[in-house]
């Protein structure tokens, strides 16, 4: 299908993007590579009056490493992450996740910030950024503000982004040399949205023990703390975790249980 008519504006910088989004009563939306919003527009599930392209902004392309954080510009593509263009702060987790997103032709255009702003509960970056408790840097008319991934998503396809705000960057913590992680997902066909996602990050040096159940009807479910993770090994615990995550249906419970078990087996001593 073809999208309903809209006006397209390429922002020249962050302030311009914010101004174009906030102008009058125009229903405007920011877009990166249009790999999530494009299908929505083409299917007319989304209709906008104005598309504000932020994909070419230098400020959103930057990647930088500080003592404890890796900052990734919102318009960095999945392919750039897959190809290891950023410092290996997560012991290979980010490139691994990137490689599993959709198809290479999509990854060449799709952006980290675009995926998070779209907030599909089955999206890989949504689950990953919850696992990492990443911080999103947002820019609006009043300047910048920071929001943790736990507070950024309000529900499926819904975030705290105001109509005139954009994501500038995402900051993820740096793993210690002893960190262990697992990211498991199952798809009916490689590249499709996952039926089930389970991810675990253990980092004793940083005091981190966290698991995420993703690809739910709701946003990812987080299980935090070494004790809570260890308890998942006891009989019936996986089922109770799925109850808490609101997983219903025989097939859904089965695939989520298998993913979670495999992810735990990957990182926890038997």
């Amino acid at each position: 299908m073809k999208p309903a008519p809209f006006d397209y504006r390429a922002a020249t910088d962050v302030a311009d993007a914010v101004a174009l989004l906030g102008e009058g009563a125009v229903h405007a939306k920011a877009c990166g590579g249009s790999q999530s919003l494009g299908p929505m527009l083409n299917l007319r599930l989304a209709q906008v009056e104005r598309l504000v392209d932020v994909s070419r902004l230098d400020a959103l392309q930057a990647i930088s490493l500080s003592d404890d954080r890796l900052r990734i510009g919102a318009a960095v593509t999945h392919a750039r992450i897959e190809d290891g263009e950023l410092p290996d702060a997560t012991r290979g987790l980010l490139p691994f996740v990137a490689k599993g997103i959709a198809y290479r032709a999509v990854r060449n255009r799709g952006t980290l910030g675009g995926s998070l702003a779209h907030a599909d509960p089955s999206a890989d970056w949504v689950a990953t950024m919850r696992l990492l408790d990443a911080e999103l840097v947002l820019a609006g008319p009043g300047g910048e503000r920071r929001v943790g991934a736990g507070n950024f998503f309000l529900g499926p396809f819904t975030t705290v982004l105001e109509a005139d705000e954009i994501i500038v960057a995402v900051e993820v913590p740096i793993f210690s040399g002893r960190a262990r992680w697992s990211y498991r997902k199952t798809c009916r066909k490689p590249g499709e949205f996952a039926d089930a996602i389970a991810a675990v990050w253990l980092d004793a040096e940083c005091g981190i023990a966290r698991a995420v159940i993703g690809a739910l009807d709701a946003m990812p479910h987080v299980i935090a703390g070494a004790e809570a993770l260890g308890a998942l090994r006891s009989p019936g615990a996986i089922g109770r975790a799925l109850d808490a995550a609101g997983v219903e249906g025989d097939y859904e419970r089965e695939v989520h249980a298998v993913m979670l078990r495999r992810a735990l087996n990957d990182v926890l001593p038997a």
Partner: protein
């Protein structure tokens, strides 16, 4: 309507376009390059795959206006490309096409696989092809064709570019 200029297959191409027009529709209807095929129009089937600034993209979910000033290569732009000539021959020899609808997208993807993943084995080829749907061949011929080209190039065949 906005007038945009793209660098298509080595030539500058200026043409008016609506903001909502996909790159695929612009190539086909604005520039008469009908080798790019439109299938699902939401990024799933891969029929519309073209090169944008040297890498494959979905032209059905990329808007033409967003490509202002950029390099686009469609299947028509690969006429003189040695690797593509090798792929065309292998596709023919291995029966990698029947109706031809997916073929131009398949070839652009295959071109990327051979350049980016010279060591790819059969399972990697299949994984990389997951984003290009074919409803005629059952994929076996396509996978064999790509594997043949990779093998020829690894063996340093004299006609490898």
């Amino acid at each position: 309507m906005k007038t945009i200029t793209l660098h298509v297959n080595g030539h500058e191409a200026g043409a008016p376009v609506e903001s909502r027009t996909s790159l695929a529709d612009h190539l086909r209807e604005g520039l008469n390059l009908t080798g790019t095929h439109v299938g699902c129009e939401h990024g799933v089937c891969g029929a519309c795959t073209v090169e944008l600034d040297g890498v494959p993209v979905r032209s059905c979910i990329t808007y033409a206006v967003a490509c202002e000033g950029r390099r686009v290569r469609t299947i028509e732009g690969f006429d003189d490309d040695a690797l593509m000539a090798q792929l065309r021959e292998a596709f023919s020899a291995e029966h990698a096409l029947q109706c031809g609808y997916c073929t131009t997208g398949m070839l652009v993807t295959a071109h990327d696989i051979v350049r980016r993943l010279p060591a790819a084995d059969e399972s990697r080829i299949r994984l990389e092809l997951a984003g290009n749907l074919c409803r005629c061949t059952g994929y076996r011929g396509i996978v064999r064709a790509i594997a043949r080209v990779l093998g020829e190039r690894r063996a340093g065949a004299p006609d490898a570019a």
